[in-house]
Subunit: 598 residues, 2 copies
């Protein structure tokens, strides 16, 4: 079917069921950042395959809302679909919620019923929408409209679930469960309902493969003082089921979740409304719903010593791979393009993992390999249809690589920008400001209790001085063999409020992007560790666990303060000391040169 | 009467009226930071004269709660009073509220009624207390207990109220009133009740002298869409009353306020519960009380061009006075002590004001002149009974001067620490870290929207790196011929949330304090101004309006980055260029030396 045919089939179903407006979001049943193919209904209907977008359909028209990352791709993919692109984030363009409200408020159009699948929007989104609905609106939330017309829909993912050994997780399910129960008790709740896949995978020390690059599995969990219920595909869980049951977990089929929810009637139930669906909260009907962050969020963000020690080793392998790639790109003879670099990096990663003695599993996200002006696009992704060759004679011959691996030992995420030929002075300035910003943040000492709001300016100060900024956060938390984007820690001067606590791992990734010319980003991963303790309290600092040279061909020493130069030299000495034992003599020499003191 | 006799007289009154516990706070009827003598009931009863403290009296005992600034003074002043000192802020010591709750919860003691004067506590405090009271507690809030025993109580202050000319205020009362009414309209309120003295003085362009160093007058204001009522002492206001009435202000006597409040029954009334008394909110009885910051707070914080231009000139006079004091202290022959410096500074200020062509009125707060180890005490104040001589051969011969003036043109606040002999290397390090912190913040460029939380670390970074901190905010707003402490702007990594907006004036005052040895603080006043505007938005920066050398005898260049050296030299060049036209040749030469490039 074409997009037009799909729309008209959907409109027939809408008419049959009295739905004036249909909203098709991008969420799965678990409000995941990335979703399995089964849940890509918006992409199926519209043809637009970006990771974020909302489709709003009425009898007369259809609008697709997406953000700046995807304007160009969406334009291309929506051609001939009769769907209008709504460039969300552009001045004057409403949000999907605002647009839906305006439709419902337009008495001329007479639209009264709004339909969406309550399982595919968060309770928080639904609450926000409900607060603004004009009187007389009816919400229809129990029908999966796309399902009515989607004949070759992929099956629900059901990858094999495997046990994540305590030698990697560092803490048993039983121990984690007591911490969760203690948090429940503190909030005077008698039950916790969770649907967020990373939290469940962490709590049960299980992993799967239901979402690309995120080793999780479809699941729900209900925890009370005495019960510990896990809802998963029974075939997928069969191998680990006996050991789960031995730990006291009651294993149910994924489909039994809603029936079990009803048993919580009357209880005080903790749910995180931003991480759980409207359908679940609605099914909790008579329970006393307490909206609070899942206790697992902060518990899993504070890494334990096993996780930290293993992650450090994974980062050595990762840094080794990235450094080998750097050496090859800068000194090798092979022709490369954005796609071949990603592949070569994966093979370096396997090789390095073996040398370091860790186990590489998968990319932790689709790598961004972006040459020249491509690097100015924040979420650029090379495809077989469209990619750039690496040309050392290009106007700005730089390659930005933002990549990471899932290792059994932990997940990595790092960015380097390599200088592969002559670059203009202004680009060197940008490179140096980015490098200094990243180094300054990595070398910061701060008092315990400081948030990501309070420390961000350290990475931006030199840029702001020159009227330059980057439009993304400076840092995000990272999961341990889970999602590479994890809260609550993050670093942004105007957004995050969470404290940067001991044993959290947070990225440090300033950048500068000039459209049509170049993009630079330097990303390190930082473990928060204790510094001195005295009458002023506990000071904290960071351990930088990313090991790969910052390209000195991008550095203009004249821009740097003497402390910047000292920090860069110290960092490079550590990179050399950490990686050189794993390198052959030729590469060792090249690394020595790449990390020479300036 | 002795404290003991006063307590027993009070207890007799409590018994007569059935009050089990009496709480005597430090507030006046306007929740002012500093209060007139009429309101110093806690000091009258206990003998403790510090600016902050709460007294809690029962039939058996009496406790005085005060903070770390006043432990030593309170210990001395409470001797023989039978009042126990509660060192608020020390681990394990309850807050007055916690203590009162614990008394009321102790069934053995059987205390059931709590009395305090509802006019002398904020509505926010009372709300917080009420939320925690054990069931069965009775609150008695309509009696001024101290009044029952205080025979020679000072009269309510009633200084002459004078008009603050528009050539200084920059905006007429009528214009300010429309802005306030617009804010009311936005919040869908039909009335505003204000009792905060600085806000009222600002709104009506009036000044008085009811509080030491703060040119305000006792007053209330009620504003509706059509009414504009000012409540003041009718004698005090007599001279300006005709012009007020010509502007449409209805002038009432201070005592008529509560009767007028009753007329707001049924209306939506905006009050700032942290800046208005419990008694007022309680008198609003049937009105719909909307708790919101007074709209005047943000309006008066955003200075207008007249205020800014005049304040700049006041700061030239102030800087000149402070610089002359510096020259005298460093190169003069006169013997000095902490008290004589304050007096000499006042005469320099008068002289400088004349030379610059501005009008000096008064100190904007009691100056802190603290020599050697005295400077380590945050709120040190020399008295005729206890002060230090300035001895250039002392172990750490440094003098900290934190001082400011009220000029007709605006108020100033600045701190310098002068080095008057040889100081140890560690002290030089501390001096340099403080100077760099202050300079770095003053030279910061930041994106519009950044708060005091986001920028504070710039001043602390070098200290934190070495495990040093200072336990006060880095900056506070400052009033225009009003209080030197003004919100909403402030700078602190863990406290303030207000944006640092264009045309606000904020102090920049890092410090380092080592008990028993020395204290260093360097304070400049900064106007927020616009920097570049581009695709990233509006960048902001600061104009430093404080002009006085940073003592180079305290500077260790080895600790500084090259950018720190550049900023210090640039600052000193500006100080020289600004002040030298007003100096005789001899002083001009000395200033040239004090501001030489390093």
């Amino acid at each position: 079917m074409t997009a037009k045919e799909k729309l008209s089939a959907l409109r027939a179903e809408m008419a049959k069921r009295g739905a004036d407006i249909l909203l098709v979001p991008s969420d799965d049943y678990h409000q995941s950042e990335y979703v399995g193919d089964y849940f890509k209904a918006r992409a199926y209907i519209s043809g637009f395959t970006g990771s974020a977008g909302t489709l709003v359909i009425t009898a007369e028209d259809a609008k697709l809302f997406t953000d700046g990352r995807y304007y160009i791709q969406a334009e291309r993919q929506l051609k001939d679909s009769t769907i209008d692109l709504m460039r969300f984030g552009t001045e004057g363009v409403p949000t999907p919620t605002e647009y839906v409200i305006s439709l419902l408020s337009d008495s001329k159009r007479g639209l009264k019923t709004l339909a969406f699948d309550g399982k595919c929007v968060s309770a928080k989104f639904a609450d926000g929408l409900r607060a603004k609905l004009p009187e007389g609106t009816t919400l229809l939330t129990d029908t999966d409209y796309p399902a009515l017309i989607w004949q070759d829909r992929p099956a629900l993912p059901a990858s094999k679930i495997w046990a994540y050994d305590i030698k990697y997780s560092g803490k048993s399910h039983t121990d984690k469960l007591s911490l969760v129960r203690a948090a429940l008790c503190e909030k005077k709740c008698s039950a916790l309902v969770m649907s967020s896949l990373c939290d469940i995978a962490w709590l049960y020390n299980l992993r799967g493969d239901d979402v690309t690059n995120t080793p999780v599995f479809l699941s729900y969990s209900i925890i009370t003082d005495t019960e510990d219920k896990l809802f998963v595909n029974l075939d997928a869980v069969s191998e680990v089921r006996p050991s789960l049951e031995a730990e006291g977990v009651s294993v149910y089929d994924y489909s039994e979740f809603y029936a079990e929810l009803e048993k919580l009637s009357g209880a005080s139930v903790m749910v995180d409304k931003s991480a759980i669906s409207e359908a679940i909260v609605s099914a909790l009907g008579n329970a006393n719903v307490v909206d609070a962050a899942n206790p697992t969020v902060i518990l899993k963000a504070r890494k334990n010593q096993t996780e930290l020690e293993n992650t450090r080793r994974a980062h050595i392998a990762e840094g080794l791979a990235l450094t080998k790639m750097m050496i090859e790109l800068k000194y090798g003879d092979s022709e490369h393009d954005e796609l071949s670099v990603e592949q070569r990096l994966i093979s370096y990663r396997r090789e390095s993992a073996q040398r370091v003695g860790v186990t590489y599993l998968d990319e932790s996200f689709g790598a961004i390999c972006a040459f020249g002006p491509n690097a100015a696009m924040a979420h650029y992704s090379a495809t077989a249809e469209s990619y750039s060759k690496i040309d050392k004679n290009a106007p700005v011959p730089m390659l930005l690589i933002d990549t990471g691996g899932h290792y059994l030992e932990g997940s990595t995420d790092a960015t380097r920008t390599f200088v592969l030929g002559d670059i203009p002075n202004e680009v060197k300035l940008h490179y140096t400001l980015t490098a200094c910003g990243s180094l300054r943040l990595a070398n910061l000492t701060f008092l315990e209790g400081a948030t990501g709001v309070a420390i961000d300016i350290i990475a931006r100060q030199l840029m702001w001085e020159r009227g330059i900024d980057f439009r993304h956060g400076t840092g995000h938390g990272i999961g341990h063999l889970l999602s590479v984007h994890e809260g609550p820690n993050s670093i942004h001067w105007g957004r995050s409020a969470a404290k940067i606590e001991e044993n959290m791992i947070t990225s440090d990734e300033p950048g500068i992007y000039v459209e049509g010319s170049h993009g630079i980003r330097i990303e390190n991963e930082l473990i928060t560790i204790k510094a001195m303790h005295n009458e002023f309290g506990q000071f904290m600092r960071f351990e930088n666990i990313t090991h790969c040279p910052i390209d000195l061909d991008g550095i203009d020493v004249a821009v740097m303060d003497n402390s910047d130069i000292r920090m860069l030299n110290e960092y490079h000495k550590r990179v050399y000391d950490t990686l050189s034992p794993y390198l052959c003599n030729g590469d060792k020499e090249k690394l020595a040169y790449l990390t020479r003191a300036i």
